[in-house]
């Protein structure tokens, strides 16, 4: 019997949630329980930097209860993720250790892009509905407590993602300071939103036509997904429906609103803010349809688990998204597409022929590929400080699908392609990495340097290379009748680092075309 029971726990900033899933190859994912407990951790963490003792007690008590519920379902595996309230807590390590000691539950902390990627995954796993909707211009609007994330699709590939500090809790707090009455919220929110959206539109949206918005949140989704008579769920809402809801929000008091929409009153204020936000964004993009699949982070956690364990696979190619994203960034900073392609080809060829030596996997190959795409983005700012600038650009730009650590690897590989390598032991810039990551950086840097060296003149002379590994030599056979004196000459310095890392000497051989 191949039915596994899995628990996904989301330690969110205003809610603790656990979903129990049955996962099987035959029937896919099947949610069997969804337990939620309201607990406002965000306000404390954002305000004081720490959770109060009482809050930690409450957190532990509920987690212990979760643990008992898991036991009752005979849950085999679980994954617990903490988001911004945990992430931004100053004594995070102590807190997490304490929770583990008291409840037995290990919480991993997600950073923003990881969290958004899980959300994105849970959308993508909706299957056909998702593939169909992204055939037309589509944006994902992921509304959180602290920030919102807007991701854009080009054809059916996700090409850009931007984070804006416009989360519903944050906006609410800001509006509290303004001391505006609730009836003025709409104009204020619209104002705040519009200024940011105008910039966003100019820089990222450009002339893309966005027809659909996929909404990931707790409020609008709850409304759109309200079960109708007999449990039927709509999930889609047209522009007129959204406008109708906005109108209701505008004209009714919060308690009337709660009654009309049959939702708890304490959620109404945030629903109201979310609704106006969505409406402003819809208008600004000219979108006509929203799709609120009603997914939560718990769903994303479960999909990640199921995918990792090869229980289910998605028809969507996430790597393609990552590459497209990188290419988009490169384009924005006027990177040379042609040169990138050459570099990518050479680097990946070397990578593939050296599998036995470097022992790196598919994921690292992707990181190398991203590094080649982004290898020269920094020159947009400074030709002299290419390394540092590239590093900063990459670290400041979110690439959905890459974890923070992976982004760190890419940025460093690009950086040390240009700068002298900082050894772990000398306490340089890389010493904050763990050893495994450090070694990955070193290995990938060595590979990129070689590839870069082979295309020194940027004239793509090395379009067709053949690589073979013979004892302690990496034979690079170049099929060109162009002059490669420059490459050969400068190659030595680049080859040294390679030799140092792999104890293999790269050798160039020119095979002249007949």
């Amino acid at each position: 019997m191949a039915v596994k029971t899995f628990a996904a726990i989301d330690v969110g900033s205003y809610e603790l949630a656990m979903k129990i899933f049955e996962v099987s190859r035959v029937r896919g994912m099947n949610e069997i329980d969804h337990i939620r407990h309201s607990i406002d951790m965000g306000t404390e963490t954002y305000g004081t930097g720490k959770l109060s003792y009482e809050r930690v007690d409450e957190l532990c008590r509920v987690l212990r209860e979760f643990s008992a519920i898991m036991k009752s379902y005979q849950v085999k595996d679980y994954k617990a993720y903490g988001t911004s309230a945990i992430r931004e807590s100053q004594n995070r390590s102590i807190l997490l250790d304490q929770i583990e000691q008291r409840t037995g539950i290990v919480i991993d902390v997600l950073n923003n892009s990881e969290q958004r990627f899980l959300d994105y995954k849970s959308i993508a796993f909706q299957g056909e509905g998702f593939q169909k909707i992204i055939e037309n211009g589509t944006a994902i609007l992921d509304i959180g407590g602290g920030s919102i994330q807007i991701s854009l699709f080009d054809n059916d590939t996700l090409v850009s993602t931007q984070n804006m500090k416009l989360g519903v809790l944050r906006l609410q707090e800001r509006l509290n300071h303004v001391d505006a009455s609730i009836s003025h919220y709409d104009t204020l929110i619209e104002e705040i939103m519009e200024s940011q959206m105008n910039v966003y539109k100019k820089l990222y949206l450009k002339d893309r036509e966005i027809k659909n918005i996929i909404v990931v949140d707790d409020y609008i989704s709850a409304l759109v997904n309200k079960k109708g008579d007999g449990g039927a769920i709509k999930r889609f809402a047209g522009k007129d429906t959204v406008e109708h809801f906005v109108e209701i929000c505008r004209t009714k008091s919060l308690s009337e609103l709660a009654r009309t929409l049959d939702m708890p009153e304490d959620r109404m204020s945030l629903l109201y803010i979310s609704m106006i936000m969505l409406h402003t964004i819809m208008n600004s993009m000219g979108a006509e349809l929203i799709w609120a699949p009603g997914v939560t982070l718990c769903d994303g956690i479960a999909y990640e688990y199921a995918e990792k364990n090869h229980i289910i696979t998605s028809s969507h190619d996430f790597e393609k998204d990552i590459i497209a994203c990188a290419q988009n960034i490169s384009k924005r900073y006027r990177g040379s597409r042609k040169r990138s392609e050459t570099l990518e080809k050479i680097a990946l060829t070397i990578f593939d022929s050296m599998k036995r030596v470097h022992g790196l996997g598919k994921r690292e190959r992707l990181l190398l590929q991203i590094s080649t795409i982004l290898h020269d983005c920094g020159k947009y700012i400074s030709l002299a400080n290419l390394g540092e600038c590239s590093y900063n650009i990459i670290m400041a730009t979110e690439i959905i699908g890459l974890s923070h650590l992976e982004r760190e690897i890419v940025a460093n590989v690009v950086k040390y392609n240009h700068l002298d390598f900082d050894y772990y032991e000398t306490g340089g810039d890389l010493s904050f990495l763990d050893e495994e990551t450090y070694l990955k950086v070193a290995k990938l840097t060595a590979l990129l340097r070689i590839a870069n060296g082979l295309d020194r003149s940027h004239k793509q002379k090395f379009k067709n290379v053949k690589i073979s590994l013979k004892e302690e030599k990496l034979i690079i056979t170049v099929d060109t009748d162009k002059d490669i004196t420059l490459e050969k000459g400068l190659f030595g310095a680049r080859a040294d680092f390679f030799k140092e890392v792999y104890n293999i000497s790269p050798v160039i051989r020119q095979k002249r075309m007949q």
Partner: protein, 707 residues
């Protein structure tokens, strides 16, 4: 089409007065010569215990409101004070009627071989000797006589106890008359059998024996006179919750300032010495109108014990069959297979309650069961369900039980069970703050080959195997995933977690149920207004929620046919202008206590059927956790419709609410005798017999494709 508004208080009946009418309907069963003699005793006893509870809860609550200076009017526009005045009149009448019935029953008992010696003076010499001996040996040792004089204050007279008050005078003839009292001990049987030579049975009431021997308690005194008396106190502070919450708080505040347990009713024997009465009256601060002079024994609940006397089976009801086995649930069947095969609707007490007990029992033993969750409101003593739950916990299942401690008059009982369950390892939730959990739901989570499957039992009655033999209730056993999902969410909510994002099938009070009812009633109205057929049949125990009644009025005015089957309180009036005969109300008071809540909505030809744990009362819809569940399998819907139709056809036990607010039995002319409860028995017997025939038959019956 009339556009009348129905918001005038005169369109509604007062709920207390309506309740009195209900108790009168029960009394009419005691009067009914068609009922066996001993059943009539039982009905009379029920009217008496009903009235006691009514005083302790409703009258006490009204008195509190008056004392707190609360003058807000009720649904019918009456202030608490006005209600008390009106009630006083009708309760006195009711009591008089009770004793009229009692008298006639006593003489009937005599002619049927049971002699009740009403006055000890009537004992024969031989009987008197027996009685005195009985007194010496059994009664005297447990009596605590109390005299009152300047050094001894007036003793505490306990709520609901029977006492004998006496006026005594010192033997030496000095001093004034003094007051003395002795409680008739509750530990002894109130009915004492006196051996007799002939076949007739002779009994005397305990208080008569004590009265006869009272001199022996006060040896230094002469007894001037002695009479039984009984008081009812406003002893419980849990005021009926039907009024607004702020009111409750206000009353509680007032209560603290007042002395504990004000006496609200005094029952004395008719002909009591006025001097004795004056003392009691004064000491208890009881008002004249709250004194009930009774021509007969006080506290008729002893008649229930009388019912239990041996040797009178021929005078008891035998027409109603005992709960019948249900063909689908063969002995030793796998209950989960039976439910998986198809949803099952149980109709108690005509069909046995044992599948429900068996459901929990098998779940406790089944190796694949992971968890059992249940709400318990009132359980029987020695409940097999409790035992099974404890067993399940010991077998390592996760068992969560919500035990409602606030179930009135059952508080102590429930605490005992709850503690026992906790000891066995169950997770016990002792009710919810501010809400009573009245829903009846059981969830069994079972791990099966293709994943988790949830089995759910939903009912209109308590998980009480004893009352399931006496109350009519509906239960549904299902493993439909949509209901299983909702059931899980219900228990998550009861455990203190947030509400689910939505419900598939169930409607839950206090958050959603009322709106749902108003929606369903409103939909019929819309249909009727659009010229389509609108039809509602609802069977509940009480109807006193203003919003629901108003919605029904409006639907009725729009042309919806509304047939209500309401056993007890009904604040809705029939025959209002603009509605006429569109709304009819009937009450069935029969051998079994009508308890099920069933709802039928025509829904423009796509009928919907529901059952619920809730009545149409504010307390059910606003201050309790209740569940309404749909019954959507056509076969089961047919069964529910049959039940409703049969009750609507009843000509024997049904009373019709007339426009003047009174109830009258159905006019049988041209309709013949149709006793729905009896017919239900036959139906269940028939089903069981058919099946038995099938099991015992030697002819093979090929199974053919169905559905």
């Amino acid at each position: 089409m009339s556009q009348l508004k129905y918001d005038d208080p005169s369109d509604y009946s007062n709920r207390e007065l309506s309740w009195i009418l209900f108790n009168k309907r029960v009394l009419s069963e005691a009067k009914d010569k068609n009922n066996p003699l001993f059943e009539r005793l039982k009905f009379l006893s029920i009217t008496s215990s009903n009235l006691d509870e009514f005083f302790m809860v409703r009258v006490a609550s009204l008195k509190d409101m008056v004392n707190a200076g609360y003058t807000k009017t009720d649904i019918a526009g009456m202030t608490p004070a006005e209600q008390l005045v009106a009630l006083n009149k009708v309760t006195h009448e009711l009591v008089e009627e009770q004793y009229g019935v009692y008298k006639s029953l006593v003489s009937k008992l005599l002619s049927n071989g049971l002699r009740i010696i009403e006055k000890h003076e009537k004992l024969t010499e031989k009987e008197a000797a027996y009685v005195d001996k009985y007194y010496e040996e059994n009664v005297y040792p447990v009596l605590t006589p109390m005299a009152v004089d300047s050094s001894r204050p007036f003793p505490l007279i306990r709520n609901k106890t029977l006492n004998i008050g006496a006026l005594v005078k010192k033997k030496n003839g000095e001093g004034d008359l003094e007051f003395a009292t002795v409680q008739v001990p509750g530990v002894l049987s109130r009915i004492v059998e006196i051996p007799s030579d002939n076949k007739k049975k002779t009994v005397i009431l305990l208080e008569e024996i004590i009265e006869r021997n009272i001199q022996k308690l006060f040896l230094n005194y002469d007894i001037v006179c002695a009479y039984p008396f009984r008081i009812m106190r406003n002893a419980d502070l849990s005021i009926e919750e039907d009024e607004a919450e702020d009111l409750l708080k206000e009353i509680e505040k007032q209560l603290k300032r007042r002395q504990w347990g004000q006496a609200i009713r005094l029952e004395v024997e008719e002909g009591i010495d006025e001097r004795l009465l004056n003392i009691i009256e004064e000491e208890l601060h009881i008002a004249q109108e709250d004194i009930y002079r009774i021509d007969g024994p006080l506290d008729l609940t002893f008649l229930m014990k009388m019912y239990g006397l041996n040797g009178f089976d021929h005078l008891k009801e035998s027409a109603y069959a005992k709960p019948q086995p249900i063909p689908a649930f063969l002995p030793e069947c796998d209950i989960f297979e039976v439910i998986k095969d198809s949803d099952r609707l149980l109709f108690h007490p005509y069909e046995t309650f044992s599948p429900v007990v068996e459901f929990v029992r098998q779940a406790a033993r089944d190796k694949d069961v992971l968890a059992i969750k249940q709400t318990l409101y009132r359980v029987s003593g020695n409940s097999p369900i409790i035992a099974a739950l404890a067993q399940a916990a010991e077998n390592g299942k996760q068992v969560s039980v919500l035990v409602e401690l606030k179930a009135r008059f059952d508080e102590e009982n429930n605490i005992v069970w709850a503690k026992m369950l906790e000891k066995a390892g169950c997770h016990v939730i002792y009710g919810l703050v501010g809400l009573k959990t009245h829903s009846k739901i059981t969830l069994v989570v079972r791990r099966e080959e293709d994943g988790i499957r949830r089995y759910v039992h939903l009912g209109t009655g308590n998980y009480n195997d004893a009352t399931a033999k006496l109350y009519t209730d509906i239960g549904l056993l299902t493993c439909a995933p949509s209901i299983g999902e909702d059931a899980t969410a219900v228990f998550n909510m009861l455990s203190g977690y947030s509400e689910p994002l939505g419900w598939n099938k169930l409607s839950i009070a206090p958050l959603w149920l009322k709106d749902r009812f108003l929606f369903l009633i409103g939909r019929e109205k819309e249909n009727a207004l659009a010229g389509r057929r609108g039809h509602i049949i609802a069977k509940v125990n009480s109807l006193c929620d203003r919003d629901v009644i108003e919605a029904l009025y409006e639907a009725g005015a729009a042309g919806v046919k509304i047939e209500l089957i309401i056993r007890g309180i009904c604040c809705l009036k029939t025959g209002l202008p603009g509605i006429g005969n569109n709304i009819t109300v009937r009450s069935i008071v029969g051998n079994f206590l009508e308890h099920s809540r069933i709802f039928y909505f025509e829904n423009d030809g796509k009928p919907e059927y529901y059952c619920a744990s809730a009545d149409w009362m504010p307390r059910n819809l606003e201050r309790r956790v209740e569940i309404m569940f749909p019954v959507d399998k056509p076969k089961l819907q047919k069964k529910l419709r049959a039940i409703l139709d049969m009750q609507l056809k009843d000509t024997v036990k049904a009373h019709i609410l007339k426009a003047d607010g009174t109830y009258e039995k159905v006019d049988k002319r041209g309709k013949g005798f149709y006793n729905s409860q009896l017919e239900f028995c036959h139906m269940a017997q028939e089903a069981a017999r058919k099946h038995e025939h099938f099991v015992n038959s030697r002819v093979f019956i090929p199974e053919t494709h169905h559905e």
